[in-house]
Amino acid sequence: MSAEAYRVRGGRPGRAREALVGYAFVLAPMAVFGVFFLFPIGYAIYISRYNWGVYGSQGSVGWHNYGWVLHDPIFWRSMRNIGEYTAWVVPAQMALGLFMAVIVNQKIKARTFFRSAFYFPSIASSAAITTIAIFILNADGLLNKALSLVGYDHHTPWFYTTTTAMPTIAGLNAWTTSGTMMLFYLASLQAIPNDVYEAAAIDGAGRWRTFWKVTFPLLKPGHFFVAVVSILGAVKLYDQAFIVSGGTGGPDYATLTPVLLLVQEAVQNIRFGYAAAMGVILLAFMVVLTLAQRLLFGRSEAA
C-alpha cells in the first residue's frame, strides 16, 4: 500500500499486527479463564433450573430451586454464620496484616527473615494447620493448659462449643491469611513517598500521630483492596468448617457455612440442581457485596 494510505489510517505500519500479537498472548490465559471459570458458572446456572441427579437431568423445575433455597431456614442460618465469621475475621486480618507490614517496612535486622516467617502460614496447607489446631485447641490441649496457668481454668472445647466455634475458626484464619494481607499492605506502604514523612516530621508529629494521621489515610487504596479480598475469601469459607466439624456443620449448626451446606446438598442428598442454585445465589451475593464496597469507599486509585 502507499504511504498516503498509511497516513490516512493514522497508524504506524503493523499496528493491526501488533494488536493481533497482543490478543494471541492473552488468548491462552483467557481460554483457561473461560474453561475453568466462565463455563462452570454458566453450566451451574443451567443445571440450577433442573432436578439434577447423578446421571443428569431428572426434569425441569424452572426457577423453583432458587425459591426453595431462599425459603430454607438452614440456608439463612448459614448466611448468619458467615456474616458473624466475616465480622470477626476481616478486621482481624486487616489489623494483623497492617501491623506486620509496618514492622517489616522498617529497617530492622533480619527483615527478610521476618517477611518470610510472617508469610509462611499463608502457604502452608490449611488442612494440615486445621488438623493440628484441633489438637492444640482441644479441651485438654495446649492452649487450655497454657490458659489454666494464668488462671483461666475452664477447659473449653473451643471448636465444639456453639458460641466459640466460629470465632475460633476466625482466629485461626486471621493468623494464616494475615501474611497475604501483609504483602498487600507492604506494597501500599512502599508507594507512599518519603517526603510525606519528612513533612510530618518537620511539622513536629510524633510516631503515633504520623501513623494515624498520615500513613493510615494514605493507605486507602490498600485498605480497599485488602478489605475486598478479605471479605470475598471469608464468604467462601469451607475447608476449615469441614475439617473442624467433620463435615456436619458443627455443634448445633454453629460452623455451617453456605459453601459447606452447598457441598452437603450436592454430595449427601445428590441434589446438584439445588446446590447449583445455592452457588449462583452466593455468586450474586458476592457481586453485590463488592459493588457496595466500591460505591461506599469510592474509586481506589491505582494501588
Binding site: 441427579g53 479441651a139 485438654d140 472445647p157 465444639y160 445428590i270
Partner: protein, 410 residues
C-alpha cells in the same frame, strides 16, 4: 502407474485379511470370566488396607484369569464416588455404607443383583435378614453385606474394680455404677461415662425402652411416644447430671479415644474399637460387655455392602469377585482378621467377639430411607443443643418428626 496401483491394492487387501484373521483367532480357551476388575472402598486404617490386600491375593490365586486392582479412596468417599458415577467410570466392586445405600439405590448407580443370584445359584439365605434388608430396594438386592458390627459396652476393668462395682446390665445399674465411680474418683480428670451427642448411639436406648424411630412399615416417625421420651431423657440425663461427658469435653475425637486416654471408664462403641485399642492404647485394660437393657434389649447394626456398579465394564468378573468376597470362604478370610463380624450365619466370628455376636438378634440396621442424611443432621444438631441446655427434649422430637415427614414425602 497401473502396476504400482495393482501392487498397492494387493498389499492393502493382504493387510486387512491378516489383521482380521489375527483378531478372530482365539488366544487360548479361558474357563469363566476374565479380565481386569477395580475394587474400591475406604481403608480406615493401614491394617484394613493390608487385610483386604491379603484377601484379594487369595482370590487371584483361585481365579488366575481375573486381575484385581485394589484402589481404596481416602478422604470424602461419597464425594469421590459420586464423581466417578457421574463420569461413568466407577470402580467395578466397592463398599456402600448402609446409611447412604438408600440414596445410592434410588439414584440408580448400583447394579441389581437378583438375576446373578438365580443364574449362578447364589443363595442369600445365610445373610442376617435385617442386614440384607438395608440393601434391598423395590424388591431387588443391590449389595451384599460384607460384615457388620453392633454397639457394645466397653468398660475399663481397673477403674471398675477401683469403684468396687459389678458390670451394669440394666439402666438403673448403669447409673449406680457411674455414681460409684464418681464418688470413688475412679476416673481422675474425666467422667465415668463417655456419650456422643449422636443419634447413632442414642437410638439403641430408644429400642431398649420399647420405642422406635419409624413405624413398622417405615412410613412415619414414631418418636413422640412415652417409651422414646423415656429413653431420650435417660440418655440426656446422664450427660446433664455430669455422670457422662461428650468426647470433645474429654479432649477426644470419639469415645474410643476417651477410653484409651483413660478419661472415661464406660463407652458404647462397636467392633471397630477393639483393633483401635489394640493398636493405639495397648496398655489400657478393658473388656467388652453386652449393652445394658431397659424394658427390652435393643441395639443398632452398622454394616457396609459390596456392590457392583451399574456402569461396570466387566460385570461377569466383577460378580465373581463380589460373590467370593461375600461368600462363606472369602468372608471368613476377611473377618478372621478381626476388623468386623461376619454377616453370614454360616461363618464363625474371630476369637473374642462372642459378646458382640450375641447382640445380633436385637440389632436393627442403621439404614432408613433416601434423604435420611438431612434428618440425621437435624437429629445430631438438636441433640447437641439439648446436651448444652439450649433446647428441650420435646423441641428436638418435634424437629426430628417434622424433618422425617418432609424427607419421606419427597
Amino acid at each position: 502407474m497401473r502396476r504400482v496401483l495393482l501392487t498397492f491394492l494387493v498389499l492393502a487387501i493382504a493387510a486387512v485379511v491378516a489383521t482380521t484373521a489375527a483378531q478372530a483367532r482365539p488366544h487360548r480357551t479361558v474357563a469363566g470370566p476374565s479380565g481386569n476388575v477395580v475394587l474400591s472402598g475406604w481403608a480406615s486404617s493401614g491394617s484394613e488396607f493390608d487385610f483386604l490386600t491379603n484377601v484379594v491375593q487369595d482370590f487371584e490365586k483361585k481365579y488366575p484369569n481375573i486381575h484385581v486392582t485394589y484402589q481404596p479412596i481416602n478422604g470424602n468417599y461419597p464425594q469421590a464416588m459420586l464423581a466417578r458415577f457421574a463420569s461413568h467410570t466407577p470402580p467395578d466392586v466397592f463398599y456402600v455404607d448402609s446409611s447412604v445405600a438408600p440414596d445410592w439405590m434410588a439414584a440408580g448407580v448400583l447394579q441389581p443383583l437378583n438375576s446373578y443370584f438365580s443364574k449362578f445359584h447364589f443363595s442369600t439365605k445365610p445373610f442376617f435378614p435385617r442386614l440384607l434388608s438395608g440393601f434391598t430396594y423395590k424388591g431387588q438386592v443391590y449389595g451384599l453385606p460384607k460384615d457388620w458390627s453392633p454397639l457394645a459396652m466397653e468398660i475399663n476393668t481397673s477403674m471398675l474394680q477401683k469403684a468396687g462395682v459389678g458390670v451394669p446390665t440394666t439402666w438403673p445399674a448403669l447409673i449406680a455404677a457411674a455414681k460409684r465411680m464418681q464418688v470413688t474418683n475412679a476416673v481422675p480428670g474425666g467422667a465415668p461415662i463417655c456419650l456422643s451427642a449422636d443419634w447413632a448411639r442414642l437410638l439403641p436406648f430408644v429400642y431398649q425402652a420399647g420405642g422406635s424411630f419409624l413405624n413398622k412399615a417405615g412410613t412415619a416417625p414414631v418418636l413422640n411416644t412415652p417409651a422414646a421420651k423415656k429413653a431420650i431423657n435417660f440418655y440426656v440425663g446422664l450427660a446433664t447430671s455430669g455422670l457422662a461427658r461428650t468426647p470433645d469435653q474429654l479432649g477426644s475425637g470419639w469415645c474410643g479415644e476417651a477410653l484409651g486416654k483413660q478419661k472415661a471408664a464406660i463407652i458404647f462403641e462397636g467392633n471397630w474399637a477393639l483393633p483401635y485399642m489394640h493398636d493405639t492404647f495397648p496398655t489400657v485394660s478393658y473388656a467388652t460387655y453386652a449393652m445394658p437393657h431397659g424394658r427390652a434389649r435393643g441395639d443398632l447394626g452398622f454394616t457396609t455392602s459390596y456392590s457392583m456398579a451399574k456402569d461396570s465394564k466387566n460385570k461377569a468378573a466383577a460378580w465373581t469377585l463380589l460373590s467370593y468376597l461375600t461368600g462363606a470362604q472369602g468372608m471368613k478370610k476377611w473377618t478372621d482378621q478381626g476388623l468386623a463380624l461376619p454377616s453370614r450365619s454360616d461363618v464363625p466370628p474371630a476369637a473374642g467377639r462372642s459378646v458382640l455376636i450375641k447382640e445380633a438378634p436385637y440389632s436393627r440396621a442403621w439404614s432408613f430411607f433416601p434423604g435420611f442424611s438431612d434428618v440425621y443432621t437435624v437429629m445430631n444438631n438438636d441433640l447437641t443443643a439439648v446436651f448444652q441446655g439450649k433446647k428441650d427434649v420435646q423441641g428436638m422430637i418435634n424437629d426430628i418428626q417434622a424433618a422425617t415427614v418432609k424427607a419421606l414425602k419427597k
